[in-house]
Every structure is written in structure tokens, then in C-alpha cells.
């Protein structure tokens, strides 16, 4: 899903990057003269995909947090922040985890580790 979403924007037009420090995974400076060992085209493309995936995951997390916040709200005002994971019941956290896994936003390994952590915390 992430990649499909990412691919839509990947085909977009090239914009000038005043940000000269966007690298693979958005962490390492991509524009560096000392970066001779890094792949050129492959690095650019991988950085774009990884950044898009990270952005999509962040958006998904925010959306889920907002959904959780709206579900618990009793007033007319929506809270700017939702429950933190620690405030959710284990059942809610497991449901949230299941949704993340079903959406492909976390790996099976991450799912298993988080699930065990939730269950161990009960």
C-alpha cells in the first residue's frame, strides 16, 4: 500500500531541492562530496521510496491516533492529541497492532515483538 501511494508521487515532476540534505531513508546527507561510495541513481531513488514510506507511516499513525482520540471523546471538541499507547488498554493496543499489521505498516517481526510486549505487560 505504501509503495503504491509512494509511486503515485514518484512520477511527479522534479522540483528544485534547496534541501540538500535529504538522503537515503531521510537520515544521511545525500548531497555530500565525500559520499563517493554511495550509489548515485540508486541512492536517489531508494531515498525517495524510503522517505515516502516513512511519510506514509507517519500519516497512518497520526490518522489512527486521531481515530482513537475521536472514539473516546465525549465533548464537541476533538483533542489535538490522542491516547498514548500507555493509555490504551491492552485490547485496544492489540487491535491497533492488528490494524497496523493488516495494513502492512509493520513487519511480521515487529508485529510479533510488539504483541509479546503488550501481552507481557498485562
Amino acid at each position: 500500500m505504501f509503495v503504491k501511494l509512494a509511486a503515485r508521487s514518484l512520477a511527479g515532476s522534479v522540483v528544485i531541492a534547496s534541501a540538500l540534505f535529504a538522503g537515503v531513508a531521510g537520515h544521511a546527507p545525500a548531497y555530500a562530496h565525500s559520499d563517493w561510495a554511495a550509489p548515485f541513481l540508486g541512492g536517489i531513488m531508494a531515498g525517495r521510496v524510503l522517505t515516502n514510506m516513512q511519510n506514509q507511516r507517519a500519516q497512518q499513525t497520526r490518522a489512527m491516533q486521531e481515530m482513537a482520540g475521536e472514539g473516546g471523546s465525549t465533548g464537541g471538541h476533538s483533542r489535538p492529541t490522542s491516547h498514548s499507547p500507555a493509555q490504551l488498554s491492552p485490547q485496544e493496543r492489540l487491535q491497533q497492532l492488528d490494524q497496523l499489521a493488516a495494513g502492512g505498516y509493520i513487519t511480521p517481526q515487529e508485529y510479533k515483538a510488539r504483541r509479546e510486549a503488550i501481552l507481557n505487560g498485562m
Binding site: A7, V14, A22
Partner: protein, 139 residues
């Protein structure tokens, strides 16, 4: 792509280590660009290096470790190389090894410090930029 315009050129010149050199720069042409170029610190004799090959037909191929990273089309205009390529993320990065499918990428490479057998460039794809050195490999 046009909106990258003058700012892109200015950015490229600003970071060029030889931007202040007195010698006039050459420009790439459709003819001179054709051929196989090794990227950055790679050597032409190293099959595992990163290569980019511009064909006279307008096709382009980027390879690393002997495997194609991206294939597609190239176009040269005003010292900028426009690449419209197709790539599979699984080949680009370890973190993407499980991502299937092929996706289009539109990349612009602003070139400078052009000589007969080398040039430098800033590759841009949306918010991603990367600096590269290209050295011509003899056929």
C-alpha cells in the same frame, strides 16, 4: 521540470569545486553523452561499480554489481540530463528488498565541470539530491 530552472543551475554552480575556475566549461551534447560512464569512485574495470550507459537510441541503463538498477530514456537539454526510468525498489536498498513491482522515476541531473571524458552532476528527484562524478569508460 522547468521550474527547477535557474535555481538548479545556480545551486549546481555554487557547490562546484571549480566554479571559480577561469577555464570555460564544455557542454555535453547528444553525441558526447552516448557511451558508458562509471560513477563516483568506481573504476571502469570493476564490474561491481555503478555504471550508467546512454545509448544513441535514447535508452539509458543504470547498473550496480552487474545488475540493472534502472532502465529507461534520457534526454539532454541545457546541460541537464532528464531521465525517465523504471526501477524496482527491491534492488535499490536493503530496506526495500521485500518491495515488489516496478515504479517510474523522473530524475534530473544538472551537469557541470564537463570535460571530454568526465563530468559532474547533481541528481534531483523531488526532495532527494545526490552529487555524482562520471568518468567515461573506453569502449
Amino acid at each position: 521540470m522547468i521550474r527547477a530552472g535557474s535555481i538548479l543551475v545556480a545551486a549546481a554552480l555554487a557547490v562546484s569545486p571549480c566554479a571559480h575556475a577561469a577555464a570555460p566549461e564544455s557542454s555535453l551534447t547528444d553525441t558526447s553523452l552516448v557511451g558508458k560512464w562509471v560513477v563516483n569512485i568506481g573504476e571502469c574495470s570493476d564490474p561491481n561499480a555503478e555504471f550508467i550507459t546512454f545509448l544513441k537510441s535514447g535508452a539509458v541503463e543504470s547498473t550496480r554489481n552487474g545488475s540493472a538498477d534502472a532502465v529507461g530514456f534520457w534526454r539532454l537539454e541545457n546541460d541537464r540530463i532528464y531521465l525517465n526510468v523504471l526501477a524496482t525498489p527491491a534492488r535499490l536498498h536493503e530496506k526495500l528488498k521485500d518491495v515488489n513491482g516496478y515504479y517510474p522515476f523522473d530524475i534530473t541531473v544538472a551537469t557541470f565541470n564537463v570535460t571530454a571524458d568526465s563530468f559532474q552532476g547533481v541528481g534531483i528527484l523531488d526532495d532527494q539530491t545526490r552529487y555524482g562524478k562520471f568518468t567515461r569508460c573506453k569502449p
